[in-house]
Amino acid sequence: MSFLTLDHVSHYYFSKNNYTKALDDISFSIQKGEFIALLGPSGCGKSTILSIIAGIIKQTEGKVSLQKKEVETTASEIGYMLQQDYLFPWKTIVDNVLLGPKITHTHSKNTEQKALKLLKEVGLAEVANAYPSSLSGGMRQRAALVRTLINDPKILLLDEPFSALDYQTKLKLEELVSKLLKAYHKTTILVTHDIGEAIAMSDRIFVMDANPGTISKVFEVPIELRNEPPLLVRRHPKYQILFDKVWEELDQRENVQTKKVVSINNEGD
């Protein structure tokens, strides 16, 4: 029984004098509790897929369903963390975290305690009443994660959550997020352009291709790697093997892309 299903989903962005086919015929399904990584070059439609699943934009064609329900107004069941943290600068950290409950009118003493508990879990207890501007990039990212988790979403969509961080912070955060999500048995889709991160965090890797966005290949992460924390995965012998395979796939795709661009340019002459 699949949890989330995308069925022949295509998406176009229209503007007055142009249109972009961002996604072309994307189909996949995800089981409950699975951790999926969407890997691909920038502009291949990764963020678009997440926005469609989150119900923020409506796909041009196809169907998206979460537990058999169409994703239209399931917003509160989906936790979407945007590419940047987008903490509201005029709210304290704890108020940022409590946005979800306030929007869904479930705010109470309980949610407040839950917010503080989650903040403590990610090491932000001391800055609960601080404003986002006084926090470092890694701290902001953790706060944004807690804000996404507070409403107990059934599925988490993380859009390049670690891409703006320095390497060390990124590794630590991967570790923390992986632990946290395992503890809460969350189904997750992680967008990234970092092969290592995709292998370290996920169970399956969907490699995407651009112009238009399609899923070109799916890699299964070996079972031995799945339950290891990300730092250990990166040291595992099988990690390197998979890394090379994914690398090769992306490299090939890139070559194809270059040829496409060259041929388009030639046509134009």
Partner: protein, 270 residues
């Protein structure tokens, strides 16, 4: 030990330099004022300029003191101040409300666009006679003029500020299933509060224009009325005295709004 001493000394030297600079600026400001007033007085007494037309500082002071002591100036001043404050508040409030209504519907804002452009380009005081015909020759018309002069520009400025809010804040809220009103409350309003507050400063100046012109036209009460009256009976000391009062109170009001702005910005972000 030595190092900290010189550090301290450098800092002190810097501070005293800043202080000295401020002092120089003040000295110049005061000198210019005194020179201007003195020149005016001398020019008037020595008939370099016609004292009947341009009056003189001492005569203006006498007029002000005299009118204050017999109480006749108070009512005029009070009327003008109240009208200006009312016009200012109403104009700002309606401008913001109109901006909100434009924000709630993209289509509505597109429909309204040409009308707003025309209304904004229009010199609002030209509407004065029509307003007086519609609302009667009284304080209601004058307040309406004080308000109408700032309402459209407020709408345009605030609406464009609404549109400049990063749409990703909106996306965060939509991902929680937020309604339009919740988006406004949690993202649009707090993000644009500084912009809304800064329209206050512009509007307070505009309202003075509307109210004074309104008083010219209605000619019953207020400092604008005194100017017109003085002009008609050839009492230019009265005209000048009214102008001086307008300058003083417009500046006070502006400073007050400026303080309020600083206070609001400080307290809305913390």
């Amino acid at each position: 030990m030595k190092a900290t001493n010189t550090d301290e000394q450098l800092f002190k030297a810097y501070l005293s330099k800043v202080k000295k600079e401020t002092k120089i600026v003040y000295t110049w400001q005061v000198s210019i004022l005194i020179t201007f007033v003195l020149l005016w007085e001398i020019a008037s007494r020595l008939y370099w300029i016609d004292p009947l037309l341009f009056s003189s500082p001492t005569t203006i002071c006498q007029v002000i003191i005299e009118k204050f002591s017999n109480g006749s100036l108070f009512t005029h001043l009070e009327v003008t101040l109240l009208e200006t404050i009312a016009g200012f508040l109403i104009g700002t409030l309606f401008g913001i409300l109109l901006a909100i209504s434009l924000w709630t519907s993209k289509r509505f804002s597109r429909i309204m666009d040409p009308y707003l452009v025309i209304l904004n380009a229009m010199p609002k005081v030209a509407l004065g006679p029509i307003i007086i015909v519609a609302l009667g020759p009284g304080y209601v018309s004058i307040i309406a003029m004080g308000a109408i002069i700032s309402v459209i520009i407020t709408t345009l400025v605030v609406y464009s500020a609404f549109n400049e809010v990063d749409p990703n804040f909106e996306k965060v809220l939509i991902s929680f299933g937020a309604s339009k009103w919740q988006i406004f409350k949690h993202a649009i309003f707090p993000a644009t509060l500084p912009a809304m507050i800064s329209t206050l400063k512009v509007n307070v100046g505009l309202s003075w224009v509307g109210v004074i012109v309104g008083e010219f036209l209605v000619s019953k009460q207020g400092l604008g009325y005194l100017i017109i009256y003085g002009f008609q009976v050839f009492d230019f000391s009265l005209v000048m005295a009214s102008l001086v009062l307008i300058a003083i109170f417009a500046a006070i009001m502006y400073k007050f709004v400026e303080r309020m702005e600083a206070w609001l910005i400080k307290h809305s972000s913390s």
